[in-house]
Each structure stands twice: as C-alpha cells, then as structure tokens.
C-alpha cells in the first residue's frame, strides 16, 4: 500500500503542472485583463494609453503569456504564491484567511450528511416498500431537486426573519471571541448545505444497501444463523459502503469551492466568494492558487478513496 501511495503522490506533481498551465491558458484567453477590470470604463476614458501601459508594467501584465507563466510557476515552486493584483494582499494571507470559514461549513455538511444520509438510506433499504421508505424517497428526491439558493432563502425567511431564532448571515460580529458566539451563525448555512447533501447520500446508500442485501453472501450469513443486525450492518452495510465512500470522497474537494451559492446567500466570507470575485476581476495569481488548491484536494480525495475502499472491501487490491 505504501508503494501505491508514493506512486500516486508522484503522479500528482506532473498533473498539477498540466492543470495549472491549462487554467492559466484559460485566463489568458478571457477578454481583458486585471487592469481593465480594476478601472471603471468611465474613468478609463480619461486615462492615457501610456498610463494604462505603466500600470500593466507595474503589475507585470505587459510580459508575454509564457513569460508570465514561467515567472509564476518558478515563484510558486520557491514558496512565493504572489500577491492579489487588485489589492496587493499576499495570496497566502487571502487563502488562509478565507479557507477556515469554508472548511467550517464543509466539515459540518460532510459529517452531518454522512451520518444521517447513511443511516436513513440503510433504514429505507431495510424497510423497502414501506410508507417510511416511500416518504424518505420523496424527501430525498426533493432534496436533490430543490436548488440550494432557494432552500437557503426559505430557511432565512423562516428561521432568521420570521422566528428570529438565528442570525441573518455573516460569520462573525464584533465581540465574538469563542466558538459559542459563532455557533448560531454556522447553524443555518451548515444545516442547509448538509441537508442538500444528505439527500444524495441517502439515495445512494439505499441503492447500495439494496444491492448488497440481494447478494449470495447475505443468504450464507443467514444460513449460518447470524443475528439480523449483524447481517445487515456488519456484512451488508460494509459492502454497501464502498460506493458511498466514493460519493462522499469526491464531495470533499467540491465543498472547498463548491459552496459558493451558500456563501453568497448567507454572506459567509469563504473562499468560494473570493474565487468568484477573482475570476471576474481576472486576478490571475489568486485564481491560480485557489484553482490549484481545489485540484490538489480532488487528487488527494481520489487517493484517500482508493485507500479507504481497499480497507473496507477486502476484494480490492491496491497493488
């Protein structure tokens, strides 16, 4: 397994190079540049071409595409992630400032959706065809179908505006020092994100569990006289878990940049909002770092999934 992990880690390096180049190329092909986004069109009308060129020069935008990519990649390899073109803030400061906010939400959503999604999916499979199963199926379909923003707005309307149980949004307020001060702010966005994900995990777990329960080894287990809970949870659920792990594993990286809508609805100062602003403003050093971070997370998640699958399912051999 160690050889497998090392080999996979080594593959990550050239993949990051290729993907970084493609993202850089994509930004290059987008019309305009950071300066044209920084300066309002009305203001630009009275700035001379020389001044605009000087600004581009100062920000290093006058160099050729390949030259700029080379400088960027060399700097990154030396641990210098650069500065935001718009505000001059070190990229590492922006990422490490915003990432905890996003990870907070992601952690809540992943834990909540994994536990409840698996439990409800297994329960639904065990009660196949019952009123409970049908009701959970309907709820699951609704959860998958309703857009996040709509669900978020409804939750805000009910719990923040009408009942006034929870804050309208934001992550912090002046004077917040402990996790308990911040907890009420996490509830609504975390709950909405988790619920949307729970529906998917529940549907997936149900299908996997039904598939697992129809296998021959379940009959064998019953023939051995094992208790029903042991058959379902130790034999059946263990096998059913493999596809569920894949689903959850691939959601980990998407949660880093994928909770953009939730962040916007709940005014949550996460990395998703920052990424959108950076793409719109063609702030390429920032876009590159957030994109690379997401890509790295995808590749790592893929590795973790393979390892976990092998641990859960003895038939899978990594070597």
């Amino acid at each position: 397994m160690l050889t497998f992990i090392i080999r996979r880690l080594l593959i990550v390096v050239p993949m990051l190079f290729v993907i970084s180049f493609l993202v850089y190329l994509g930004l290059e092909l987008t019309p305009g540049d950071a300066v044209s986004h920084m300066i309002d069109p009305e203001v630009a009308s009275r700035i001379s071409a020389e001044q605009l060129s000087e600004m581009r020069e100062a920000l290093g935008l006058n160099k050729s595409f390949l030259e700029r990519y080379y400088i960027w990649i060399v700097n990154v390899l030396q641990g210098d992630f650069g500065h935001s073109l718009a505000g001059g803030v070190p990229i590492s400061d922006i990422v490490f400032d915003r990432l905890p906010a996003t990870l907070e939400l992601s952690f809540i959503a992943i834990v909540f959706s994994t536990i409840f999604g698996c439990l409800l999916g297994v329960f639904s499979a065990l009660k196949k065809g019952s009123l409970t199963d049908n009701s959970l199926s309907v709820v699951g379909m609704l959860g998958i179908s309703i857009p996040e923003f709509f669900f978020g707005l409804v939750a805000l309307l009910i719990f923040a505006l009408n009942l006034q149980w929870l804050p309208i949004g934001g992550r912090l307020l002046p004077g917040y020092e402990t996790i308990w001060d911040r907890l009420p702010h996490m509830v609504l966005p975390g709950f909405v994100l988790a619920l949307m994900m729970t529906a998917g995990v529940m549907r997936y777990s149900r299908s996997a569990m039904l598939d697992s329960l129809s296998r021959d080894f379940i009959k064998t287990a019953r023939a051995k006289g094992l208790p029903e809970w042991r058959i379902n949870f130790i034999h059946g659920f263990r096998v059913a878990l493999t596809p569920v792990i894949v689903l959850i594993g691939f959601r980990l990286p998407t949660l880093i940049g994928g909770s953009v809508i939730i962040e916007q609805v709940f005014q949550w100062p996460g990395i998703g909002n920052e990424f959108i602003a950076a793409v719109r403003g063609q702030d390429y050093p920032l876009v590159m770092m957030i994109a690379l971070f997401s890509v790295f997370a995808v590749l790592m998640a893929s590795l973790i999934i393979d390892v976990l699958t092998a641990l859960v399912d003895p038939r899978v051999r990594l070597d």
Partner: protein, 536 residues
C-alpha cells in the same frame, strides 16, 4: 442575354450602394440623431420599467438652477421621427449596433423597449453587453485628424455621474472623445464653462452649451437617475441634512443617534465594507463608509455639494482672479494613530495624486492646473512649484483657472504621508495601508474582518467633537445586492443609499425603514458615434 446583363448591373449597383452605406456613418447626420430621440417614449419607459423612480431627461445637465430654459424635450413623436429619417435618406437595411456594460435586468429590458420603439420608425438595432476590456472598447480614439471612428459600435448606453457639471461636456473636446469628433464651436463652449469662477457667467455659458447640445445631440439624454437615501427608524440624524450620498457633505454624523441594543450599546449598522481591501478615496471619495466617516477634507459642502466652509481648514481664501488658493489648517489636527496631521501631509497628498492614474476627474483637473504640475509629473521637477507650505498654511498657485478647485478640496481627503510616503503611485491601491487605513475623520477603524464586517469607534481626538454612538459596524453588501434587503429586514442596516429601483421598492415596503429621494447629477444617455465614417 440582355436580361442577364440587366440583372447583373442591378446587382452591382445594389452591392456598391450597400458598400457605400457600410462605410458612411449615417448617425453623423443630426436629423438621424433627432429622429432617434423622438422615437423613444421615455415618459412611458420611466413610468413602466423604472416604476416612476427616474426622471425623463431633456439635457445631460440635471433639473435645477443650471438647466437652460426652453430646451426641446423631444417628446415622443414617431411621425416626426419617420419624417426626419426620410429627409436624411435613412438606409433602413442597416442594423445599428447598440452596446452597454451593465449586467442588470433593467438594462436588458430597456434595450428590448428601445429596439421596439426604433423598429417602429424603421430603424433596426441589435444590442450586446461589452465584455473584457470595456474601457478600451468604449473609449478607443481615432488617430488625430481622422474622420473614421476607432470604436466598433454605433450607440453606447451608459451613465455620466458628474461631481462637477463641466464633466458632462469636457469629454467632447476635439481629439479626446471616442464618439464625438468635436469642432471649434464645441471647444469654444468648453472653454467658456471652464474659464470663469463667476457663477452668473458660468450659468450663461452652460445654458449656451445645453442649447447647442439639445440641437446637436452628441449624447441623447434618456433619464436622470435619482439617489435614494434609506435609514432605519431606530436612528436619527438629529437635524442633519440629506444630500448626494455618493460624495461628501456636511451630514453631521457626529450628532447622529441610535436606539441602544439589548446590551445597552448604541451601534449603527451600514454597508459598503470591503471584501479584500479598502478602496482608496481619491477615485470615489464618498461611496464607501470607510472613506466618508474615516477621512476628512480641507473644506466641507452642503447636500448638493456646494462648498460651504472649512473642515480641516480653519479658514481659506481665493484670490480675486481665482489663480491662487490659501488654506490655514486648524491647530492640533491628528490622524487616527495619534500622529499630527500637517500641511506637509496635504502637499504630499496633492503631489502623489498627480501621479496616481485612476483618480477622480475633477481632482485630476484641479491638480493638473497647479503651477509646476506638468514638470513634476514628467519628472523634471522634484516638487510642484505652485504648492507652498508655511506652518499651518498651504498656498496653491494655479497656472490655469479651475472653476472647481473648491469643490475638489471639499471631496479630496489628504492621506498620511508618514504611512504612505513609500508608495509607488502606479500601485497605490495595492499598498498594505489599504488593509486597515488610518484616517482623520470622526470614526476610526477598530477591527477589520475582511468580507465579514468592519467595526469603527468614535475618534476621541476628532476636531469636530466625539460622535454620540458607541460603534459603527459595516457589512460588505452594496446597492443592488439582495443582502441589503435581508440585512434591512433583520434590523442590521441603519443607513445607506441605493440607485436600484428594486431596492427602493422593497425598502419602502419595510415598516422599519424610510427612504428619502435625492436629485443628483447622474444622467443615463445614448452616446452616438458621430464620426463621418465608421470602423466596422
């Protein structure tokens, strides 16, 4: 055979005629521009699309004391439009390319309405949103003396938000506009509105300009956008005036009060907090709360931005010929970090602003007019010869008259030299100072949580007295943003401003909020490409 030759000749003639139309810009004919003005029913558009929250325009200059009497309002008259188009021999086979740069639904709806109105009189148009280098596409100027435009569009829908009324017309100067070729008559009119500080003479010059433009339509004015100031019913300005909140005026914020919260704290909530950095106040001096409440100016102004007296300045005087201006600073002025605010800060700020590319147009014109500004900008002088400091006094000598110099100093905030002295003007906005700026205004920044909130506390050493509230907290929402409405409904927004019709309707419907409309110089218009030949 003869029939074949006849058809071929007819086709050739038609092709030649089309090619000729492709090169010649019929919009350079004033009759076509007037026809477009007559063809659009702005009164109906204002009542329907804008739900009455705008005012149909008959000039770039807003309604009020500076509006010339007797202007042609180009009241909707499709028959007159058709008549003018016929007289101009309008080629109805061509399609006008209309561009815009706003991403809102209202703009898209306006384009649809315009398309229908113009179609009704036989003018076809398509519309598209400019993407990428919008400034470059809007402002590309032709080579000197050329009568072929460098822009690729026929009509651009946009806004002109003027701090000084001259801004509406100065851009028409020969060789400076992307869509108006200009002429000596226009240059003469521009010279007249800029050439005097005498208000009566200025009004006459503006009236003449308005009449010229009303006839010639470099821009077709569509509507005046209003500004809507909103505030919660838990706060009071205590007699403080309302005004053009996009800029700075004497809004008396130190005397504002707010009902205490459950913990007994008097906290005012507002918006426009930064997401990554504080925007410097030399471009948009009053849009962001950090600029408005955090920085003071040499002079102050009333709600309509007419300079009224000193703020940081104890006194000021203008020479009779308007060519020199002297300020005397108040004693004991301090920055929020406790350092003294001196005349050297003011002089350094003006010199630095001369080299920062993106600053407010009115500031730029004032500073460019100071003696020695050109030599300082081109590097041949190490300081601006027209700026002299003597203790608390700063005197400015002008090489050319600037009618808006007092307006500039009511909006331009000096910045602390001791913290920004090392700045590269080309990377002014990128300086670390803008992560937590130190200002001179009634509120100082206490805590910054980027993209979450900014907390301000009253500045104890403020020269104008200490503010009555305990704290000011701003969140990063802005006009046209759904979070404005959510925060207002949740009691987390006490004051702000918007130009969004959608915001206004929703805020008016909230019991805890009140909305006050303010007329501001903000005109939406159609810029018409009038070069004789187009570049398409």
């Amino acid at each position: 055979m003869n029939k074949f030759i006849g058809v071929a000749l007819a086709a050739a003639v038609q092709m030649t005629s089309s090619l000729a139309y492709a090169d010649v810009n019929q919009l350079s004919d004033v009759r076509v521009r007037q026809a477009i003005a007559y063809a659009i029913d702005m009164d109906t558009i204002v009542e329907t699309l804008f739900e009455g929250k705008a005012i149909a325009a008959d000039s770039m200059i807003p309604n009020g004391a500076w509006k010339a009497p007797g202007l042609n309002k180009y009241t909707y008259n499709p028959d007159k439009a058709r008549e003018l188009l016929k007289a101009a021999n309008w080629d109805s086979s061509q399609t006008l390319d209309v561009v815009f740069y706003y991403g809102d639904q209202l703009t898209a709806d306006l384009m649809v309405a315009m398309q229908a109105y113009l179609g009704d009189v036989g003018v076809k148009m398509t519309y598209r949103k400019l993407e990428g280098d919008v400034g470059g596409q809007l402002n590309a100027k032709p080579d000197a003396g050329s009568d072929t435009s460098a822009i690729k569009w026929d009509i651009a829908y946009g806004a002109k938000a003027a701090l000084a009324l001259q801004e509406y017309y100065n851009g028409y100067q020969m060789g400076t506009s992307s869509y108006t070729p200009g002429n000596k008559e226009l240059d003469g009119l521009i010279e007249r509105i800029n050439g005097t500080v005498d208000v009566a003479k200025q009004k006459t010059a503006f009236a003449d300009f308005e009449k010229y433009e009303n006839e010639n339509l470099s821009d077709i004015p569509l509507y005046y956008q209003q500004l809507f100031v909103y505030e919660s019913k838990r706060m009071s300005r205590n007699g403080g005036q309302y005004g053009n909140d996009q800029f700075n005026y004497d809004w008396n914020i130190v005397n504002w009060t707010v009902e205490p919260d459950a913990k007994g704290k008097k906290v005012l909530y507002t918006n426009t907090a930064p997401s990554q950095f504080f925007e410097h106040p030399w471009l948009n001096p009053g849009v962001f709360i950090a600029s408005k409440a955090g920085f003071d100016h040499l002079l102050t102004a009333d709600g309509s931005l007419v300079p009224t007296g000193g703020q940081l300045a104890k006194s000021f005087s203008v020479s009779d010929d308007g060519m020199s201006l002297t300020f005397e600073l108040k004693d004991g002025l301090k920055w929020h970090d406790g350092e003294a605010l001196t005349a050297a800060d003011v002089a350094w700020s003006i010199e630095t602003a001369l080299k920062v590319p993106a600053i407010n147009a009115v500031f730029a014109k004032t500073f460019d007019s100071i003696e020695g500004a050109t030599a300082f900008k081109d590097g041949s002088a190490s300081s601006v010869s027209g700026i002299k400091i003597d203790g608390n006094n700063i005197s400015l000598s002008f090489a050319k008259l600037d009618p808006n110099m007092l307006l500039t100093f009511s909006q331009f905030p000096p910045l602390p030299k001791h913290l920004l002295g090392d700045v590269n003007p080309l990377e002014f906005q990128q300086h670390s100072f803008w992560q937590k700026p130190i200002g001179s205004g009634p509120f100082k920044i206490e805590e910054v949580q980027m993209n979450d909130f900014v907390r301000y506390t009253p500045f104890a050493d403020y020269h104008g007295g200490v503010a009555k509230v305990d704290e000011l907290v701003s969140f990063p929402s802005g006009q046209g943003d759904a979070n404005v409405l959510k925060n207002a409904a949740a009691g987390r927004l006490d004051f702000g401003f918007t130009k969004s019709v959608g915001d206004v309707k929703a805020l008016e419907a909230m019991e805890n909020m009140k909305v006050v409309a303010a007329d501001i110089p903000y005109t939406r218009s159609l810029r018409i490409n009038k070069f004789a030949n187009n570049a398409k």
